[in-house]
């Protein structure tokens, strides 16, 4: 088309396809997408800044609230980082329980994604079924710690809750049920013809593109990217209970379904292994109130991919700087890459294919123009936020 006027379809900030606010503009010719622009930042909450005037213990609870789906993994990353700064390591039983809850959380996150992605493709039956079965793992988590969302099982230096025999049996029963259901879902996602029509060859990322855009987690692994923090740099008790790498080669949406569901089986196996070999020890180690000065990088594998924490202490009882890089931020680039040339009807599925988590990845970048002030206070940030939306 020689016309400069483009037909732009806006998706968001409020749109039925989006469960969280983000703004996407797709310029289309007919049904084919010719350009994408992404604008994020509608749910910036200033958590990194907020941690700077809270104590280390308070910050742990704050970071658990970065994400509503993978809350445990954030707290784990922060706790592991702080423990490293203090030269303390949590007792083995605590590490195993952390790992166990992390895997339960991965099951819950992947099943949630399965439902959302199916819904975006108009397959509401799968959506309803997978969310019904997800209740099993939610109930297990609630049984362990009393909460469905923020499990709050981590402490600096250990965990709060132990697992007794009754809980162990309940988890094993739940895992058996979920494994059976997951086989069913894997079969649907790899054999159902109408569903394959919406996923096979859609949103394909090659290995090279995946590397170039720095894709992480199951999204990257579906493109044959062999990276998993649990294997490359084992944390908590992943060294004692190793995970097998789950990858696929195709890089399309179907491969992402495939990888995520097969990761569920790996989680089931790991949960059984941990429950059978739960080490006996204390649950907590003592962590000083003032963390020694220093800086540390803590990496964990969240359900969506590599979660990166940079923690800096100046020796006081509050962190000086915490930087969180969530996996969703790494994966956005792939959307801009795969969207062009795809059909508009596939956009919701391509968007949800990376399992995006919007509020986790919203950050404020301040570009200095002449002004010499380097550090914003909480007040500055708050005022900026109010002005921004005025």
């Amino acid at each position: 088309m020689e016309e400069t006027k483009k037909f732009i379809v806006p998706i968001g900030p409020q749109h039925p396809a989006l469960k969280e606010p983000g703004h996407f503009e797709f310029s289309v010719e007919g049904e084919i997408v010719t350009g994408v622009s992404i604008r994020l930042g509608y749910v910036h909450r200033g958590i990194e800044k907020g941690a700077e005037n809270r104590s280390w213990v308070q910050s742990l609870y704050l970071f658990e609230r970065v994400c509503g789906i993978c809350s445990h993994v954030h707290a784990t990353a922060f706790a592991l980082g702080v423990e490293k700064l203090c030269n303390v390591s949590a007792p083995p039983r605590a590490q195993a329980i952390r790992t166990l809850v992390g895997e339960l959380e991965r099951i819950h996150s992947h099943m949630l994604w399965l439902g959302v992605a199916a819904h975006e493709g108009g397959f509401d039956t799968l959506f309803m079924y997978s969310w019904r079965d997800r209740e099993t793992v939610m109930d297990l988590l609630e049984m362990l710690c009393g909460n469905r969302v923020n499990y709050s099982i981590n402490l600096l230096g250990g965990v709060k809750f132990d697992i007794d025999h009754a809980q162990r049996d309940a988890i094993l029963r739940g895992v058996d049920f979920l494994e059976e259901r997951s086989h069913h879902y894997l079969k649907i996602c790899t054999t159902d013809r109408t569903f394959l029509g919406r996923t096979r060859g859609v949103g394909t990322m090659t290995r090279e593109q995946a590397d170039e855009f720095g894709m992480v987690g199951p999204t990257g692994r579906a493109s044959g990217n062999k990276r998993d923090v649990r294997i490359d740099a084992p944390y908590a008790s992943y060294a004692e209970f190793p995970v097998k790498l789950v990858t696929a080669e195709a890089g399309d949406l179907m491969a992402r379904f495939d990888v995520r569901i097969r990761e569920l089986f790996e989680s089931f196996r790991l949960i059984r292994l941990i429950l059978d070999n739960l080490p006996q020890s204390e649950l907590t180690a003592r962590v000083p109130r003032r963390v020694p000065a220093g800086e540390v990088v803590s990496r964990v594998e969240a359900p969506r991919g590599e979660l990166f924490y940079y923690i800096k202490s100046n020796g006081s009882d509050q962190p000086e700087r915490v930087k969180v890089r969530t996996p969703s931020l790494c994966n956005w680039g792939s959307v801009t890459q795969t969207a062009v040339g795809s059909k508009l009807a596939d956009m919701p599925m391509i968007l949800s294919g990376i399992d995006p988590c919007f509020s986790c990845n919203d950050r404020l970048v301040n570009i200095q123009r002449g002004d010499n002030s380097q550090v914003w206070t909480w007040e500055d940030l708050r005022r900026y936020g109010i002005e921004y939306y005025r």
């Binding site: 493709g121 919406r198 009807a345």
Partner: protein, 310 residues
């Protein structure tokens, strides 16, 4: 085997036209929603939910967006509903003889049923909303894909019965109850699935795919207009089910048979709705022209051969 008849004025205002159709349509919408909900392991709506929806919509403010043709905006929902209601006069609703009938009313009825879809498309194209525009394009694209196979499929029984009058075809199928379903299973399948395409039910709901284009062509409609379009769709569901049962399932001779056959069909449709992922619009068109039209033509060919040999 004679159908009962009703006086003209009652036919027009209450039965089978008018009020009966509206409430009947709501009842069928409820059955459909409830069945799909149960198949999806949900609880589903209570029995008065469709009525409550309509009452609520009718009492709401109707917002007219800037940049629309106001007359068209008001007229289209009315036109859509009245076309759907008018087509009921030629159809043996609830097992009674059609209120009116003339030679070739089958073709007129099918066109009246398409008016609703045309109105939907126009309503979408009338607003400057981008979701509505895409929805309208998809609605009309879908119309062009299912309409021909649907028509071809319904012509099969008409040719066998040797008449183009719906009432007479209904008599014929009542006299030969097993003939159509045994001789024309292909036509039956095409007609039933065509009806789903017509009503934009899943998996043919690309024109109103909420995760892509919000509510499609009806995005800008609220209040009264939306209520009328919804009633129109319900009426069309009822009429479509009646037509398919009358043509393929041995006719509808009395109210009991009518309810049993149409609800049975609705059950099959609800199963189909919950089985599949949404088809993209290009997949829908491909399906209809590559498979649907071929099946319908094959069906017609068999019928024609049968007629020539008999």
């Amino acid at each position: 085997m004679n159908n009962l008849t009703v006086p003209p004025l009652i036919a027009f205002l209450f039965f089978p036209g008018g009020l009966f159709l509206m409430f009947g349509g709501m009842a069928y919408e409820w059955i459909d929603r409830k069945l799909v909900a149960r198949f999806q392991n949900r609880i589903g709506p209570r029995w008065f939910q469709p009525l409550a929806d309509v009452v609520k919509l009718l009492s709401k403010e109707e917002i007219i967006p800037q940049g629309v043709d106001r007359i068209l905006f008001y007229l289209l929902p009315v036109l859509a509903l009245s076309a759907a209601l008018a087509s009921a006069l030629y159809v043996p609703i609830a097992g009674f003889a059609p209120a009116y009938s003339f030679k070739g009313d089958l073709v007129v009825t099918l066109y009246m049923l398409s008016v609703l879809t045309l109105c939907l498309g126009l309503a979408g194209a009338n607003t400057p909303n981008r979701f509505a525009l895409i929805g309208a394009t998809r609605t009309l694209t879908q119309l062009f894909s299912y309409e021909a196979p649907f028509l071809l499929a319904l012509l099969g029984p008409a040719i066998v019965a040797g008449t183009w009058t719906i009432g007479e075809i209904n008599f014929y199928t009542q006299l030969h109850p097993w003939q159509m379903i045994l001789t024309q299973p292909l036509g039956f399948v095409v007609a039933l699935v065509g009806l789903m395409g017509k009503l934009e039910l899943p998996p043919f709901d690309a024109p109103e795919a909420e995760t892509e284009i919000v509510a499609g062509a009806l995005t800008e409609y609220s209040g009264r207009g939306l209520a009328l379009f919804r009633i129109g769709k319900n009426v069309e569901l009822l009429i479509g089910l009646t037509l398919v049962s009358a043509f393929y399932l041995g006719g509808v001779g009395n109210p009991l048979l009518f309810v049993v056959k149409t609800v049975g069909l609705l059950f099959v449709m609800a199963v189909l709705q919950s089985l599949f992922a949404r088809l993209r619009i290009d997949q829908t068109v491909g399906l209809w022209w590559r498979i649907g039209a071929l099946l319908a033509l094959l069906n017609l060919l068999v019928v024609a051969l049968f007629r020539a040999l008999a």
